[in-house]
């Protein structure tokens, strides 16, 4: 009897212990929320925006197929007379051009690449099959038997019609000096290119253009032959040459990433689609004012979770809200990672709000070394809001695919006095206009990416 009194404590203690686990943890919330995983808010177009382009949608879908090595890479090297200056026969001084070094190295890289099949072709009036050794030798040793001038539309037509295959790309290496038959044909350059590329009706055709320049020792054949037909012993200036990567959008992107990203070059991309980069709002990075993640599961703070909803509890002109969106642009071509490109071309599409981008900047050592979520992002976009609508409104961060400035700078209307004009190509922008027309089905070019955000008043 006497002993029992101390045991009377036990039920009360047990009760106390039972009470303890009755608390919430993030895990609980996860389960409560019906195992919601942080999902991207489906891309919602602003009501005013145009309907999604078919090309974008079509190109986006085959993405899963595009893992692993490419099925085939075809490298086409133009060997017409105009190219001789890039690949002069080995002289006594044994000097070579930057073109030779670059292209030889590129061919080697292609040959070593993981693509299942690599083919190397010379372009004369039509493509001729070479081995890697043969083509490499051509580059190094100079063109032995220069072909007559090659017609660019024909070459493009051939490539698109005969060498276009899923998971395959064709790389065309050329100076892309397109000589129309007469002066009257000049306005139709872009149309010619469009027609050539469009003949085979490839829906997901994409073209990446990489521009390089090299010293040039030989005869320069200007496109415009009004002044003179040739310039012997050219040139005092560097002459541009280009790699055009042609193929299905996904294959082109992967080839770009694998082989061409490492090289410093001017870039322009047409019809290439990119996966939407990882992005997230950063609630603890340079944030200002009263706002928080509007996602239901924001409290979980799961590792790697991303957030795209800004819930603003109070905002005014005096107390603006500023939030930073972190972007991971590692998967994009260098062109689109360039802050100089991003600043003018990143745009915010919004309604009922004055939200605007006030800064775009790249990661620095501080952000990279931070323990916060900002360490995972390469670029940051800071947005300021001082007023917003009464309900949730979509907010889209769009990177426009703007033709880079270098294209204009590298274009000349008259290359007959190339030494004075400098390293420019005749009607380059017209050529690219033609490419663009094919890869852009509608009125507007598809954006590089669209990051949907939601801006809403706090509940």
């Amino acid at each position: 009897m006497h002993l029992t009194s101390s045991f009377r404590l036990l039920p009360a203690l047990a009760l106390g212990l039972l009470l303890l686990p009755g608390c919430y943890s993030r895990k609980d919330i996860k389960e409560e929320g019906g195992a919601e995983t942080p999902t991207e808010v489906p891309p919602t177009e602003a009501p005013g925006a145009v309907a999604p382009k078919e090309t974008t949608a079509a190109a986006a879908t085959p993405a899963p197929a595009g893992s692993g090595p490419l099925a085939q890479v075809n490298v086409f090297l133009e060997v017409s007379g105009s190219m001789e200056g890039f690949m002069p026969k080995t002289g006594a001084d044994a000097s070579n051009t930057r073109f030779q070094q670059h292209v030889a190295q590129f061919l080697s890289e292609v040959n070593r690449s993981s693509a299942a099949r690599k083919t190397f072709l010379r372009i004369k009036e039509k493509p001729y099959r070479d081995s890697y050794q043969q083509l490499s030798q051509t580059v190094r040793g100079g063109i032995q038997q220069p072909a007559s001038s090659t017609d660019i539309p024909t070459v493009l037509d051939t490539l698109v019609a005969n060498y276009y295959a899923p998971n395959s790309v064709s790389v065309l290496i050329s100076d892309f000096i397109y000589s129309p038959k007469n002066a009257g044909a000049i306005p139709y350059i872009s149309t010619d290119i469009t027609d050539a590329l469009n003949r085979a009706q490839r829906p997901d055709l994409a073209v990446s253009v990489y521009g390089y320049s090299s010293d040039f020792r030989g005869t320069y054949y200007p496109a415009l032959k009004t002044a003179m037909k040739r310039i012997n012993s050219c040139c005092d200036t560097d002459i541009p040459y280009y790699f055009w990567v042609i193929g299905p959008a996904d294959a082109v992107r992967r080839f770009d990433t694998a082989l061409l990203e490492k090289q410093p070059a001017q870039q322009a991309h047409f019809g290439v689609t990119y996966p939407v980069p990882t992005s997230s709002l950063l609630s603890r990075f340079q944030n200002v004012g009263s706002w928080y993640y509007g996602e239901k599961d924001a409290s979980k703070r799961a590792a790697g979770a991303t957030y795209h909803t800004v819930a603003v509890s109070s905002v005014s002109a005096k107390e603006p809200v500023e939030f930073v969106v972190g972007l991971d642009l590692k998967q994009l071509p260098g062109l689109f990672r360039d802050v100089k490109y991003l600043k003018p071309n990143l745009q915010l599409q919004a309604q009922d709000t004055d939200a605007k981008i006030i800064d775009v900047f790249a990661a620095n050592d501080q952000t990279k070394n931070s323990s916060g979520a900002e360490s995972q992002y390469t670029h940051f976009v800071k947005v300021r809001v001082t007023k917003l609508g009464k309900a949730a409104r979509p907010l889209q961060l769009v990177l426009k695919n703007q033709r880079p400035a270098w294209v204009g700078q590298w274009t000349t209307k008259n290359d007959s006095n190339i030494n004075q004009v400098g390293a420019k190509t005749f009607a380059l922008s017209s050529l690219l206009d033609g490419v663009e027309a094919v890869t852009t089905s509608g009125q507007e070019k598809a954006p590089v990416f669209t990051i949907p955000l939601t801006l809403q008043p706090a509940d």
């Binding site: 009377r8 404590l9 106390g16 919430y24 609630s283 928080y292 996602e295 924001a298 509890s313």
Partner: protein, 130 residues
């Protein structure tokens, strides 16, 4: 449930800094709220049913003893607030202390409420505090 706790904890204003709002609303408020209610209930049960009934202690039933428990309860409630906020690694802010202070006050309230409800079942403290 969450809405209820959010309501009572936001009576003193929104969580600060604002970026921690979701964590407070979804995790800390419910946690702190449940823990505090549980704590208060446990303290009331200990006072009324363990000490003043099961253990047969009859001289620990004065108002001052009850007040002692009430104060301990409030202190623990305050600690719960700090502890939960820190365990969720929210950005440090004086709000944590305001929230914890508010929780201590809520602890007083819960303790009082449970006391009124449960005191009848006690043998020796059924008339404490009144």
């Amino acid at each position: 449930m969450k809405g209820f706790f959010r309501f009572i904890y936001e009576l003193i204003g929104s969580p600060q800094p604002p970026s921690e709002t979701p964590v407070y609303r979804e995790v800390i408020f419910p946690n702190v709220g449940l823990l505090t209610i549980g704590l208060s209930l446990a303290m009331v049960l200990i006072f009324y049913y363990l000490i003043n009934r099961a253990m047969g202690v009859a001289t620990f039933n004065k108002v001052r003893h009850w007040v002692t428990f009430l104060v301990i309860n409030a202190l623990l409630a305050f600690i719960i607030g700090i502890w939960q906020a820190n365990s969720q690694a929210v950005a440090s802010h004086s709000y944590i202390y305001w929230m914890s202070t508010w929780n201590a006050i809520l602890g007083l309230f819960w303790f009082f409420l449970f006391s009124v409800i449960l005191k009848r079942g006690s043998t020796n403290a059924s008339t404490t505090p009144f």
